[in-house]
């Protein structure tokens, strides 16, 4: 009865809607939360949503990895490997940025005891 859920069009729209909801959750967190770490978490959620869109839309269910082995001799029914490579690269970059941000936030907290962006007023006149 629920077979229609497996058609690529339906699957892709489900993935797309889910990812967009995630993206807006992240955007909400970014705009509404004031705690530095929560802001980093929100940024990560937004990033994750973008990765999900790329991966989910670029692959259809039933496709296999594009590796010629285990009796596979031709590139048929294989998924596009580029989105996966891109996503891996982007994840690594995202981790590096978040690590830098978290370490800076920790140092800032040690120096000033503050964790909220609304308290960051040192630079205003």
């Amino acid at each position: 009865m629920l077979n229609f859920l497996d058609t690529p069009a339906v699957l892709h729209s489900i993935y797309l809607i889910g990812s967009l909801i995630l993206f807006f959750i992240g955007l909400y967190g970014l705009l509404a939360k004031r705690h530095l770490l929560k802001i980093f978490v929100s940024i990560e959620i937004m990033e994750l949503a973008v990765y999900l869109i790329l991966i989910a839309i670029a692959t259809t269910s039933g496709e296999t990895a594009p590796i010629l082995s285990d009796g596979l001799t031709a590139f048929t029914g294989m998924s596009d490997p580029i989105p996966q490579a891109l996503t891996l690269t982007a994840i690594v970059i995202g981790v590096a940025v978040t690590a830098l941000g978290t370490s800076m936030a920790i140092q800032y907290h040690r120096l000033t005891g503050k964790v909220s962006v609304t308290e960051m007023t040192e630079l205003k006149d």
């Binding site: 940024i43 670029a58 970059i93 830098l100 941000g101 000033t112 962006v117 040192e122 630079l123």
Partner: protein, 490 residues
């Protein structure tokens, strides 16, 4: 053994040096190597000019485009690469020769500056849009780390703010790239340009908007530049000089390179981008009027100039584009000079508030003189180079019978005159003896890089024909969509 020169060197040399540096901590010549690498890059960039003037250099990495990654070195890219390495060389020269703060004279600062230059060069050279994203993040991470390098309250606050705003911008850029890939299945910018017209119109608009938000934040355009003055106020002026001189220019190049190459008819985006540039310029100049801190004032003044450059580039006529590219060079030189002067003043006076800098010309006559020179160059008075570039832009607009930008640019120059002369008047005001600080002597070595820039401003102002051919060719390369597509895709 023959050396085969390729554009990869502009990215590979600084990147390799930066990553190998931690392994050679005990090596005594490490610091001189890191320092002189900037000059080597500058010399390398200049030595390429004759080759690139004849035909653009296309460096394919492993597989030919559109499948593989390639670097595209044409006259406009070379112009930016030369400018970036010059800025890197001047700033590291300034840090090296003068007695800058210890955290700047240490290894991490030099490594991060090298990474920043490598990433900026990569952004300008690359012909692959995902590669562009990677370079944007390389530049981003090194810039965040540089902002927080001093590790005190203000620097960390600036760094954190920069990191948050910068990563959000990067997400928007990534989103646009993902949508582009899903729509066309291409990552090569030239191949994308061919396929872009086939994307549904609403999708085109969405991609354009996401790109504009992302790159607009990074290139400090109007509604997205609320964060800039805080960062400029928080980080060291030596580093800020690089932000204003290198980072912003790289992102402006990317914004307009993508606009001109993806859109078959750039006039679609022309009015929007011109409006954005005009608003950026006027708002920033007006806010700059009432700034009490020199760094904040310079930040707003820098935003105003970015607006002017955007306005002229978006018009997309050959004359205004050449003028805008010349203004990019001038603005980089002027802002390097001004921010490095601010660094010297901060060392002497421990504050950059308007009230505290009164009578500065007594203790630092050379600095005050150079500030006046730079201010005149920003305003565009002859015989300084700012005059020539503004003249070219105005001539371009009047040749096209479009007069509202001319009026706005002149009004902006008037406002600029207002606040720059306020600062100059303070510098030359009589000192109240109580606030006088003993000078540690005006070391001429501190001023060597600054005098070099001042000399260049005058030389380019008197003899703009030195650059004229190069700039015209660069403008043609930036606007020449078909030529580029044919060169890359054959």
């Amino acid at each position: 053994m023959t050396f085969h020169f390729t554009p990869v060197w502009f990215i590979a040399i600084p990147l390799l040096l930066a990553f190998l540096a931690p392994l050679w901590v005990r090596w005594r010549v490490l610091m001189p190597v890191l320092f002189s690498a900037q000059f080597a890059l500058f010399a390398l960039a200049l030595s390429w000019l004759p080759t690139v003037r004849i035909a653009p250099v296309l460096e394919t990495i492993v597989i030919a485009p559109p499948l593989g990654i390639h670097l595209h070195l044409d006259t406009v890219a070379l112009l930016f690469v030369t400018l970036f390495s010059f800025a890197g060389a001047v700033v590291s020269g300034f840090i090296w020769l003068g007695n800058s703060a210890p955290h700047l004279r240490d290894r991490p600062a030099f490594i991060l500056i090298l990474l920043l230059i490598a990433g900026s060069n990569g952004m300008v050279l690359t012909g692959d849009i995902f590669n562009l994203y990677v370079f944007i993040e390389i530049v981003g991470v090194s810039a965040y780390a540089l902002a927080a390098l001093r590790r005190d309250k203000t620097a960390l606050e600036g760094g954190l703010k920069y990191l948050i705003v910068g990563s959000v911008a990067a997400i928007f850029i990534l989103f646009a790239i993902v949508l582009l890939y899903l729509q066309t299945g291409q990552l090569n910018i030239a191949a994308l340009a061919r396929a872009f017209a086939d994307i549904p119109a609403q999708m085109q608009l969405l991609i354009g908007l996401l790109m504009l938000i992302g790159l607009g934040i990074k290139a400090e355009l109007f509604p997205f530049n609320f964060w800039v003055p805080d960062i400029y106020r928080g980080s060291d002026s030596e580093i800020t000089a690089l932000y204003s001189g290198v980072l912003v220019k790289a992102f402006l190049f990317v914004l307009f390179h993508l606009t001109f190459i993806l859109l078959a008819d750039p006039t679609v985006a022309r009015n929007w981008l011109m409006a954005l540039g005009a608003i950026t310029m006027i708002v920033a100049e007006l806010v700059a009027l009432r700034q009490q801190d020199l760094r904040r004032m310079l930040a707003y003044s820098s935003l105003g100039q970015v607006g002017l450059i955007t306005l002229a580039l978006a018009f997309a006529s050959e004359m205004t584009t050449a003028g805008a590219l010349f203004h990019v060079i001038n603005h980089t030189l002027i802002k390097l000079l001004l921010f490095l002067l601010a660094a010297l003043m901060l060392r002497q006076f421990a504050s950059l508030k308007l009230a505290d800098l009164q009578g500065l010309s007594r203790t630092m006559p050379i600095a005050a003189g150079l500030f006046v020179l730079a201010a005149l160059a920003v305003l565009g008075l002859p015989p300084l180079s700012g005059f020539v570039s503004k003249l070219w832009i105005l001539k371009g607009f009047s040749a096209a019978q479009t007069f509202w930008p001319i009026a706005l640019i002149l009004i902006a120059a008037l406002i600029e005159a207002g606040y720059y002369f306020r600062w100059i008047r303070t510098f030359y005001a009589p000192t109240s003896t109580s606030t006088r600080i003993q000078s540690d002597g005006e070391r001429i070595l501190n001023y060597a890089p600054l005098l070099l820039i001042a000399g260049l401003l005058i030389v380019l102002g008197v003899m703009p024909f030195l650059l004229e051919d190069w700039l015209t060719q660069a403008a043609q390369a930036l606007l020449g969509r078909e030529a580029l597509l044919n060169a890359v895709l054959g």
